[in-house]
């Protein structure tokens, strides 16, 4: 018996200084531009397939939805109130100078329902729900629970990711509604109490510019944001490595990547919306 190949090709990888640096940079760039998005897309496709696997994990879905609600509702409200207030303050002053004070309510509805509420929802979904989900899945990955699950013949995408993704989207729908209502209440309060607006005019102008499709597109955005946040959290969590620090890094990246994606998605959906749905004339 001999030991084949002992001593061969073992120091092959220690290339010279500068070319090694370039190679490292090249590798890093390829990773960011091609490999990571590619892997993420692959995960999205796999998850899409797992959605149609029977049976749907209702229990996990309900538990996760409840968990997401518990970490997002209070912060969402606390963010929405000053948001509505600041809109009233900023726009209210300008609109009074133009002599259109009776339209304050209309601007508040347009601003909050169309843009502010999906954005606030996205902040909370990415920051609170996404990070918590990533931390959960990442720590399971580190403890080899995910591997164990696969070995036991269970697809973690079907078991863990799909219910979380839908829970996130489901809760985002309601968060969006919550932000709209709380934001409008905040705006009303600031307009009526602090800026001396009339309650009747604020309420009466509500549907002057806004229309039902505004709300529908906002809900659509919220749903898409929820799905995106769930997928990014799952992707980063399932690829966590290197112990507890790896999980921390994954959570950090989840929040940053989700923010960026959600803002881009928000922009795209708004643009398309204006193309397809004509604005209401006054």
């Amino acid at each position: 018996m001999s030991t084949p190949g002992i001593g061969a090709d073992q120091r092959g990888d220690k290339g010279g200084g500068s070319s090694a640096t370039f190679r490292k940079i090249g590798d890093g760039a390829a990773n960011v531009v091609v490999r990571e998005p590619g892997r993420f897309f692959a995960l999205c496709l796999d998850t899409g397939r797992a959605v149609f696997q029977w049976p749907f994990q209702w229990r996990e879905f309900v538990q996760q939805a409840w968990f997401i609600v518990s970490v997002t509702v209070v912060p969402t409200m606390l963010v929405a109130i000053p948001f509505g207030g600041i809109l009233s303050l900023q726009v209210g002053g300008l609109i009074r100078q133009l002599g259109a004070q009776s339209y304050t309510g209309a601007t508040a509805v347009v601003a909050i329902v169309r843009e502010a509420s999906p954005l606030v929802t996205s902040l909370l979904v990415a920051g609170a729900a996404g990070s918590a989900m990533c931390a959960d899945i990442g720590s399971r990955k580190i403890r080899e629970e995910i591997d164990a699950m696969e070995v036991l013949g269970i697809n973690p995408l079907h078991r863990l990711v799909v219910p979380r993704m839908f829970a996130c989207a489901f809760v985002a729908l309601f968060l969006n509604g919550l932000v709209s209502v709380v934001g409008l209440l905040g705006g009303y309060f600031f307009n009526v109490m602090l800026q001396g607006g009339t309650p009747g005019a604020y309420l009466a102008s509500f549907n002057a510019i806004a229309q039902l499709p505004d709300l529908l597109q906002a809900e659509f955005k919220a749903f898409v944001f929820g799905i995106t946040a769930g997928l990014v959290a799952a992707y980063k969590g399932l690829n966590a490595k290197g112990g507890p620090k790896g999980v921390g890094d994954a959570v950090n990246q989840t929040v940053v990547i989700t923010f960026m994606l959600l803002f881009v998605e928000n922009f795209l959906i708004s643009t398309l919306y204006f193309q397809f749905v004509p604005s209401k004339g006054m």
Binding site: M1, G5, I6, E145, V151, L152, G153, I154
Partner: protein, 365 residues
């Protein structure tokens, strides 16, 4: 019982780093094999490749007539049901207590009634000595208990292949010896194919039927226990004797000058230590996969080092073996392979049965 694993030309790399290449070996059905190797030679990666958690760059892994790395997902999940895997720290689900953890595969893959699930789970927990800890969460128990619970979970579906990743890491020697005895007894009972990845030389010398050694990105050797224990190959010899003398250095391989210095110092690997007798099942069953002591040496004209196959009580197992088999044969024929089968006389019927948890007294290491 048990399934053969045939690995052909397996190569795995992460990025530019080659983990191992052209690994070919056949893990015989129903036998216990141990995979050794210095830290960082990719033993765990090999184990994970065998269950399809990692995809090799090249090569084949044949489980029966299925080539694991190239199976479509549905078939892969189906094939994995043949496997039980014990991960390094148990990999228990943190949100479930031990009972639910161990019942998990049963509830997922079988339609057994809850009372039957309970019976099986408690039986397996008893087997690994965890009765009474059913309601503990994985966060509340020690590493050794986690490992045993992981083993119980790997066993509930009566796997054909059991892969074990470092059963001895973080475990005291007594518990390691008990766990080794559990493996041997299990193998006698369910006849599954075992592959144990370990660093523990004592385990490697006394437990398996076959030993493999990964070194320098290659499989240095794989074969019957006696073949490796009597091998003059420097790497194998150094590793199996846990010696500083030999080609394996602290980080990787020793360089020329170090080896020369070693030679000048007059370091000599010395005589081969004797081959210890293999551990026997303590449950009175005969392991179908066990090789007769000394058979390989005799067949290949190798003279085992003096004192080989002699246990603590001074019995030579080459001579004891036929008598042992004869005393077990009627039992082995009727109840080996039946879970929980006990011979009429109970365990320890043959006086030469080494006590559980005590590997035979191999001298020289």
């Amino acid at each position: 019982m048990g399934v053969e694993i045939r690995v052909e030309g397996l190569t795995k790399s992460f990025g530019r780093q080659v983990i191992w290449q052209d690994v070919s070996l056949t893990i015989p059905a129903g036998e216990i094999s141990v995979l050794l190797g210095p830290s960082g030679t990719g033993k765990s990666v090999f184990l994970k490749s065998l269950v399809g958690l990692l995809k090799p760059d090249r090569g084949h892994i044949w489980i029966g007539d299925r080539d694991l790395p190239y199976l479509p997902e549905g078939q892969l999940y189906e094939t994995r049901k043949l496997f039980g895997v014990l991960f390094q720290d148990g990999a228990l689900f943190g949100s479930m207590n031990l009972f639910d953890n161990i019942a998990f595969p049963l509830r997922e893959h079988t339609r057994k009634s809850e009372s039957e699930v309970k019976r099986i789970v408690l039986e397996k927990m008893d087997m690994v000595g965890l009765l009474g800890a059913e309601h503990k969460l994985p966060g509340e128990i020690s590493g050794g208990m986690k490992k045993r619970a992981g083993l119980a979970r790997a066993l509930v579906l009566d796997p054909e292949i059991l892969l074990v990743d470092e059963p001895d890491s973080g475990l005291d020697p007594v518990r390691t010896a008990f766990l080794n005895q559990v493996f041997i007894d299990l193998n006698a009972q369910i006849g599954a194919t075992f592959l144990i990845v370990t660093h523990d030389i004592n385990t490697a010398r006394t437990v398996p039927d076959n030993i493999g050694l990964l070194y320098q990105r290659h499989l240095a050797m794989f074969g019957p226990r006696e073949m490796l224990l009597s091998s003059e190959e420097p790497v194998v010899r150094q590793f199996l004797n846990a010696s500083k003398i030999g080609p394996i250095g602290m980080s990787e391989e020793k360089d020329e000058s170090e080896l020369e210095a070693e030679a000048k110092m007059g370091h000599d690997p010395g005589k081969l230590p004797s081959i210890p007798p293999q551990q026997m099942p303590s449950n009175g069953l005969l392991r179908a996969g066990m090789h007769a002591p000394g058979a390989w040496c005799a067949a290949h004209g190798v003279t085992p080092p003096p004192g080989s196959f002699v246990d603590d009580l001074g019995r030579n197992w080459v001579e004891e073996w036929p008598r042992y088999v004869a005393s077990m044969a009627p039992v082995g024929a009727s109840s080996a392979g039946q879970p929980g089968g006990m011979p009429p006389g109970g365990p320890g019927q043959f006086p030469g049965n080494p006590p559980p948890g005590r590997p035979g007294g191999g001298a020289g290491y």
